[in-house]
């Protein structure tokens, strides 16, 4: 769906992106990872058509991305913003209309979403009356209201409590199940593991790691096993490293000497560990 080819972009004093290439398949959930200031926001702005690359190309369905595609894209920027004086219902409808929905459709869809989140009672409230978390929810709705084919979410979970965070996560999965392609930029590595199929890790404007999440975790495995042993009445769980060239059976035999093996599981590195390892 999205093809980024050799994209570079530089600002006055800083090279924000250096020959970035990535391909985001239709219907996937794609993670965009990287430390602060790595160039994620610049890349996202290129994907939404807000900025143009200095060189290289950014394509959506084979066509160069431009602002005229706004109706196909839903973008939740990291810096949230709504018209403070507007009422919730009005606000959602306004964005729906701006991105090409008819008045009736916008109205209907607004009702649907308010109902889905169980917040019909907020409809006449002004944005400034809402708490931060409530406003975030409204912001999420304004992002997805026009049924975009591509959803770009920059830190979608920030500002949410665990319950609401879960609700947003479920909505993302539901939309993805309906065929929406999702690009997720986040520092929350746990959600990357649960949601994303593929990722790109950007550091200092370059892609330093790219590919399928499971495959990357396999690639970074360090032959560490989580082993639970029973010694008499006690149970003990330990991390034990397998030696170089040692087969699984040999390894089992070795640890079986220390007690009865109850559980034996290879421990793949978390995305968090991989992130820290790659970036630092």
């Amino acid at each position: 769906m999205i093809e980024i080819n050799q994209v570079s972009k530089s600002f006055e004093r800083k090279q924000a992106l250096r020959e970035v290439t990535m391909s985001i398949g239709d219907g996937t959930i794609y993670g965009l990872l990287g430390p602060n200031g790595a160039g994620k926001t610049t890349l996202i702005r290129i994907m939404t058509g807000i900025t143009m690359p200095d060189s290289g190309e950014a394509l959506m369905d084979g066509k160069q991305i431009s602002l005229s595609m706004a109706s196909k894209i839903g973008y939740l920027p990291e810096e949230r913003g709504l018209y403070k004086k507007m009422r919730v219902g009005e606000q959602i409808r306004y964005f729906a209309r701006l991105r090409g929905m008819s008045a009736d459709e916008a109205k209907q869809e607004t009702e649907n979403w308010l109902h889905r989140f169980g917040i019909e009672s907020w409809k006449m409230k002004r944005i400034e009356e809402l708490s931060k978390g409530m406003a975030q929810k409204v912001q999420f709705i304004t992002t997805v209201i026009h049924r975009p084919r591509l959803l770009i979410l920059d830190e979608p979970f920030s500002g949410f409590d665990p319950v609401n965070s879960k609700q947003i996560q479920d909505e993302i999965l539901r939309l993805n199940g309906e065929g929406t392609t999702v690009v997720l930029s986040t520092h929350d590595m746990e959600s990357v593991e649960t949601l994303c199929k593929e990722i790109s890790l950007i550091n200092d404007g370059r892609i330093v790691l790219q590919g399928d999440v499971q495959e990357i975790r396999q690639r970074y495995r360090e032959n560490v096993f989580e082993v639970t042993l029973r010694k008499g009445e006690d149970r003990e769980t330990r991390l034990i490293k397998k030696n170089e060239g040692e087969s699984n059976n040999d390894f089992l035999m070795r640890i079986a000497k220390e007690g009865e093996v109850v559980e034996f599981r290879e421990k793949l590195p978390s995305m968090n560990e991989i992130f820290i390892k790659t970036v630092s």
Binding site: R45, T48, G49, I50, T51, L67, S68, A70, I73, Y75, P77, E79, R80, G81, L82, Y83, K84, K85, M86, Y94, F95, R97, L98, R99, G100, T142, T143
Partner: protein, 433 residues
Amino acid sequence: MSNIGLIIGHEYMTRVSKKSFIIITLLTPLMMIAAIALPTWLMTRTDDSKKQIVVIDRSGMYSELFRNDDIYTYIYSGEDIDAARKTHQEVTGFLYIPGDLTSDSTSVTFYSEKQASAEVVSHLKRLLNQKAEQQKIDASGIPELKEIMKSVKSDINLKTVKFDESGKEQVTSAEMAELLGLFSSLLIYMFIMMYGSMVMQGVVQEKSNRIMEVMVASTRPFDLMMGKIIGVALVGLTQFAIWVVMTLMASGIIMSIAGINYSIGMNTEELMQSVETMRAQGMDTDIMNAVLGFNFRKILILFVLYFIGGYLLYSSLFAAFGSAVDNETDTQQFTAPLTIVILLAMYAGIYATNHPDSQVTFWCSMIPFTSPVVMLVRLPFDVAWWEIVLSLLILAGSFVASTWVAAKIYRVGILMYGKKPTWKEIWKWVKYK
């Protein structure tokens, strides 16, 4: 697909439905009436509390002059000031006349415990002046001098008559033309400033609210800018229309009330007398004619056209500079030059009221930055059609150019956060493809 219509609607509705808009729109005319009526009312009110004045007359020539009336009571005293102060407490003041006023007019003094009120002072001054004048007239020895002086006094009122197209005479008034021109140019200046900066505030607010990025991902920056500019312009025109209607209604009400007052407040004799004097002075009818001599419809239409043109020119620049900064305090650096230009236009307008046909005025009514203000000053003085058309065309061309430049600055500016750009950088934004 263009979203301008949608954005215009949003900008218009959010502003017009605000309580502050409704209050200001309704209150401003009332406040303006109050600003004129209150001083007038205060001036006509006289202070009718009783006043006691101790007169210390060393010359002995003015004892006849001060006669007690409803308000003023005079006490003659032979003491000096210090002694009189002790004997007469709680009086309004002490009038000290050291000698003959015809030879020494400066040494009369009024002493009081509190600051002497202007009314008391002018009352005493008038009495003393009258007396001194009379003394001088008597001393001159010319018998009928008083009558002669009265007949010499003159009050000439220059009537101005302008030939209209059909060759008929039309009574006009240069003062009225000046007043009308100045008023409408002030109004247009106020409108451009007010609504121009409203556009800028809107842009800065969207930036500081961080809503800009969402908006830019939803619609073209040009639509966003033009939608805001046109939306705010419609707010201004709505306000203006309401004011015009209110003025018409108010003047209707005032006229009918005044009519009623005439018949109730005056008896027939007085009424006849006042009409007589008015007719004698040729006052009433002339002003009416002078007012009717202006083509109000033309002035009104051109006011709207010049407002739209001048507003578009300035507000697009206001929008551009608003987009360059991310908080309201920083806007001043960029609006200062604009404010200076608008002020210059205002001064040119004031100059034009006194010199409506000068070369400078002509050029100022062609230069787009000053023409909205200056041309409105000239309008009551009758301007050739080609001049108006040319000046409007120049204005239109300029705002097309200015919105084009502004859109370029705006497009880059709205997503720039963090640092205040320099003029050089803004120039670079204009040149971006």
